[in-house]
C-alpha cells in the first residue's frame, strides 16, 4: 500500500503540471531597431550531372574535355546583405561570391547584385538610385513582362539574381472605393561601357515605366520600356484571387520590332526582325489537404520554331564531325559562344507548360515541404521532371535535395540538353 501515496502524488503533479499555464515572455529589447544591418546566407551545393554523351549540347560544351558518364560539381556561395537606414535615407548592398569545383577545376567569382541608395521623404514617394531588381510580372516560372530584369531560371525561380543600374521613383496613392491604390514607377536605364553593358546598345539612356492598379480586388500593371539601346516593349499583367484557395494570374508582352539571330543549315546567320507577342497564363490552387498547385502556360514570342532548333542542332552535328575529322574545333567554339546563347537559354522555344505541386508539412512534420515540378515543351513533347524535398531542421538552416530527369527524343529541347539527370543537394544557413 505504501506505493499508492507516491503514485497519487506523481499523478497529481503530472495532472497539475499539464493543467498549469506556461508563462511566456516577450521583451521589446529583443526587437530593438539598429540603423545598420548585416545578414545573408552561406550555401553549399554539390551537384552530380549524369551526362548524355550523344546530345548536341553535350558535344557543344564538352568537345574539348573528357568527362565520362557523369561529373560532380561543388558549389559554395556566400550572399551578403548590408543595409543602413536613418531617417529618410536608406542604403543597401548585396554581394554574391561563388566558389566552384567542376570538371574544369576551381573557379571563383564575386558579383555586386544590388547597390542601392534610396530617399524616402514621405510614405508615398521613394527615389531609388543604383543597382536593383525591378521584379515586374506576376508569373512564377517565367516573366515575359519583366522588361528590366535578367531572366529567371524556371528550375529555381526564387534564386537571388543580379539587378540593373537604374534611377527610379515610386509614387503611391490610395483611394477609397473600387480603385484602392495606384503606384507610378518611372525608370531611367543607362547602358554604358561598365553600366548595364550586356543589356542593350552602348552609350544610350533608355526609359521605362509601370503603372500599378489595385482595382476590383485585382492587381493590374501596365509597363513599357523604350530607348535607342533596347527594342521598345509594352506589357501588362494581372493577378486576382477568385476564391480563398484559387488565384489566377497572367502576363502579356509585345515587342513591335524584336530581333533575334537565326542560324541557317549552311552555317550563315541572319538577324530576323518581327513583331513578337509573349504571354503567360497561370493559376495557384490550394487543396483542403494543403497541397499547392501552380500551373502556368507560357507562349514565348521570342522563341525558336522546331525547324530553327533543328537547323541549329544540324550545325552542331556538322561542326562536331568536322572537328573529329580535322581536329579543327573552331566551328564548335563559334557555335558555343555568346551569339548562340538564345538557343541554350531557359526557354529557347515557343510553347511551355509549368506544373508544380507542393505539399506543406505532410504527416505533421513541421517545416518539411516535399514537392514536384515539371517543365514541358509542348512543341516537341520533351520535358524535365524534378521531385524535391525541402526541410528546415533547425532555425535558419534549410536543406534541399532534388533530382531532375530530362526526357525527350533526338532533336527535342530536353533530349538535346547535356544532362540526362541532375542530382543536387543544397544546404543553406541564414544569419
Amino acid at each position: 500500500m505504501r506505493w499508492i501515496i507516491p503514485c497519487l502524488l506523481l499523478f497529481y503533479l503530472t495532472a497539475t503540471g499539464f493543467a498549469a499555464q506556461q508563462e511566456y515572455t516577450f521583451d521589446l529589447a529583443e526587437v530593438e531597431k539598429k540603423p545598420f544591418h548585416f545578414g545573408g546566407y552561406l550555401e553549399f551545393r554539390p551537384v552530380l550531372f549524369g551526362l548524355d554523351r550523344d546530345s548536341r549540347l553535350y558535344k557543344l560544351k564538352f568537345y574539348d574535355f573528357e568527362v565520362g558518364q557523369s561529373t560532380p560539381e561543388y558549389n559554395f556561395n556566400a550572399l551578403l546583405d548590408f543595409s543602413y537606414k536613418k531617417g529618410m535615407v536608406f542604403a543597401k548592398m548585396r554581394t554574391s561570391t561563388d566558389i566552384k569545383k567542376s570538371y574544369s577545376g576551381w573557379s571563383h567569382d564575386t558579383n555586386l547584385f544590388e547597390a542601392l541608395f534610396s530617399l524616402q521623404p514621405t510614405l508615398s514617394f521613394h527615389l531609388d538610385v543604383g543597382k536593383r531588381r525591378m521584379r515586374w510580372g506576376k508569373g512564377y516560372a517565367w516573366n515575359p513582362a519583366a522588361f528590366l530584369d535578367r531572366p529567371k531560371n524556371p528550375n529555381d525561380p526564387e534564386l537571388a539574381l543580379e539587378g540593373l543600374v537604374v534611377l527610379s521613383v515610386d509614387y503611391i496613392k490610395s483611394f477609397p472605393g473600387k480603385l484602392k491604390a495606384i503606384t507610378l514607377t518611372p525608370v531611367l536605364l543607362p547602358v554604358y561601357d561598365h553600366v548595364n553593358s550586356d543589356f542593350g546598345g552602348l552609350k544610350t539612356l533608355n526609359f521605362g515605366g509601370k503603372i500599378y492598379l489595385l482595382v476590383y480586388d485585382t492587381d493590374i500593371d501596365f509597363m513599357f520600356l523604350a530607348g535607342k539601346g533596347v527594342p521598345d516593349r509594352f506589357g501588362m499583367d494581372f493577378s486576382r484571387n477568385l476564391a480563398t484557395y484559387f488565384e489566377l494570374h497572367g502576363e502579356l508582352a509585345y515587342t513591335p520590332h524584336y530581333s533575334k539571330k537565326v542560324f541557317g543549315r549552311d552555317g550563315s546567320s541572319q538577324q530576323k526582325t518581327y513583331a513578337s507577342t509573349s504571354y503567360l497564363l497561370g493559376m495557384r490552387f490550394l487543396t483542403r489537404t494543403n497541397l499547392t498547385l501552380i500551373l502556368e502556360y507560357f507562349r514565348n514570342g521570342h522563341g525558336y520554331t522546331s525547324s530553327e532548333m533543328e537547323d541549329f542542332y544540324f550545325l552542331v552535328d556538322r561542326a562536331y564531325q568536322f572537328s573529329l575529322l580535322t581536329g579543327d574545333d573552331s566551328q564548335l567554339s563559334g557555335l558555343a559562344g555568346a551569339e548562340s546563347q538564345a538557343y541554350r537559354t531557359f526557354a529557347p522555344m515557343q510553347n511551355y507548360l509549368y506544373l508544380r505541386a507542393s505539399q506543406k508539412e505532410p504527416w505533421n512534420i513541421l517545416y518539411f515541404v516535399p514537392s514536384f515540378f515539371g517543365i514541358f515543351n509542348l512543341t516537341d513533347s520533351s520535358f524535365s521532371l524534378t521531385p524535391e524535398l525541402l526541410y528546415n531542421p533547425i532555425t535558419n538552416l534549410e536543406l534541399r535535395a532534388r533530382v531532375t530527369l530530362l526526357v525527350g527524343r533526338s532533336e527535342s529541347e530536353f533530349g538535346e540538353r547535356q544532362n540526362d539527370f541532375r542530382l543536387e543537394f543544397r544546404g543553406r544557413y541564414y544569419f
Binding site: 510614405l123 521584379r135 526564387e158 492587381d219 484571387n241 476564391a243 508539412e361
Partner: protein, 242 residues
C-alpha cells in the same frame, strides 16, 4: 390573458434590443482586444510534441476595418518577409523573390497551427455575424457565423468574460461544425493607453495532436497610418515604420 399579453409585448420589445446588443457585444470584444488602428510586436512560437520550438517575431500595423500588414523581424531566414491584407486580398513579399505574390487565408506563412487568417486577423465583427449569445453566468458564449464564404472559418464559438468583455476561448469550426482549432487567451496585461487585454494566445488543433502554437503580444499601442502604407508598393518599406 393580460399577463400573456404583457409577456408577448415584452418579448417583441426586447428582441430588437437584444439583436443590437449581440452585435454591440462583439464590437466591444474587438475594441477591447485592440484599437481599430494600432502597431504591435508579436512573437509566434511553434511547439512540437518533442518540445522543439521555433520562434518568429513580427511587427504588425493595422488601420481601420480592413487593412493590416506584418513584417518578419526574425529569424534571419525569414527577415524582411512581409504580408499584407486588404479586406479579402492577401499578399506575401519575400525579399529574394522580390515581388509580392497573392496568398490565401488558409495557407500559413509560418507553418504550424497559425494560418494567414490568424496572423492577419481583422476585427471579428467585420467577418462574422452573431447568431446567438448564451449567458453562462460569469461569461457569454457567442455563436458566430462567417458573413461570406471567403472567411477562413465558417463558424466560431467564443467564450467571453462577461465583465471584461474579452475572449477567453474560441473554437474555430467548419461549415459542418468540425472543430479545426481552439484558441486560448491568457495572461491579461496592461499595455498602456487604456489597452488591457490577454497578451498570450495559445492554439491547438485536433488535426495536429500534440502540436501547439503561441502568439505573445508586446508594444501594442494605438497609432494612425496613411492609407499608402497598406499597398503592395510599400510592402518592401514596412521596416521604415518601426
Amino acid at each position: 390573458m393580460k399577463k400573456i399579453s404583457i409577456g408577448l409585448l415584452s418579448v417583441f420589445m426586447l428582441s430588437p434590443a437584444l439583436a443590437i446588443d449581440k452585435a454591440q457585444l462583439l464590437r466591444q470584444v474587438d475594441r477591447n482586444l485592440n484599437p481599430e488602428s494600432f502597431e504591435a510586436y508579436r512573437k509566434l512560437i511553434n511547439i512540437e510534441p518533442n518540445g522543439r520550438e521555433k520562434e518568429f517575431v513580427l511587427f504588425t500595423v493595422k488601420k481601420g476595418k480592413d487593412r493590416i500588414a506584418a513584417l518578419f523581424i526574425s529569424p534571419a531566414s525569414e527577415k524582411g518577409r512581409s504580408t499584407l491584407r486588404l479586406d479579402e486580398n492577401m499578399w506575401l513579399y519575400i525579399p529574394n523573390v522580390g515581388k509580392p505574390i497573392r496568398i490565401t487565408s488558409l495557407q500559413s506563412v509560418v507553418g504550424g497551427i497559425f494560418n494567414n487568417a490568424d496572423i492577419l486577423r481583422l476585427d471579428y465583427a467585420e467577418e462574422y455575424d452573431v447568431l446567438e449569445v448564451k449567458d453562462l453566468g460569469d461569461e457569454y458564449l457567442l455563436h458566430l457565423k462567417a458573413k461570406t464564404k471567403t472567411v477562413a472559418y465558417d463558424q466560431l464559438k467564443m467564450w467571453a468574460d462577461k465583465e471584461k468583455r474579452l475572449p477567453k476561448k474560441i473554437e474555430c469550426l467548419t461549415e459542418a461544425s468540425m472543430l479545426i482549432k481552439t484558441i486560448h487567451f491568457s495572461q491579461i496585461k496592461d499595455f498602456g493607453g487604456g489597452i488591457v487585454r490577454p497578451s498570450v494566445i495559445e492554439t491547438d488543433s485536433p488535426l495536429h495532436q500534440g502540436y501547439k502554437s503561441v502568439m505573445i503580444f508586446a508594444g501594442l499601442k494605438q497609432r494612425e497610418f496613411k492609407d499608402e502604407v497598406f499597398t503592395l508598393s510599400f510592402l518592401p518599406h514596412l521596416e521604415s515604420l518601426r
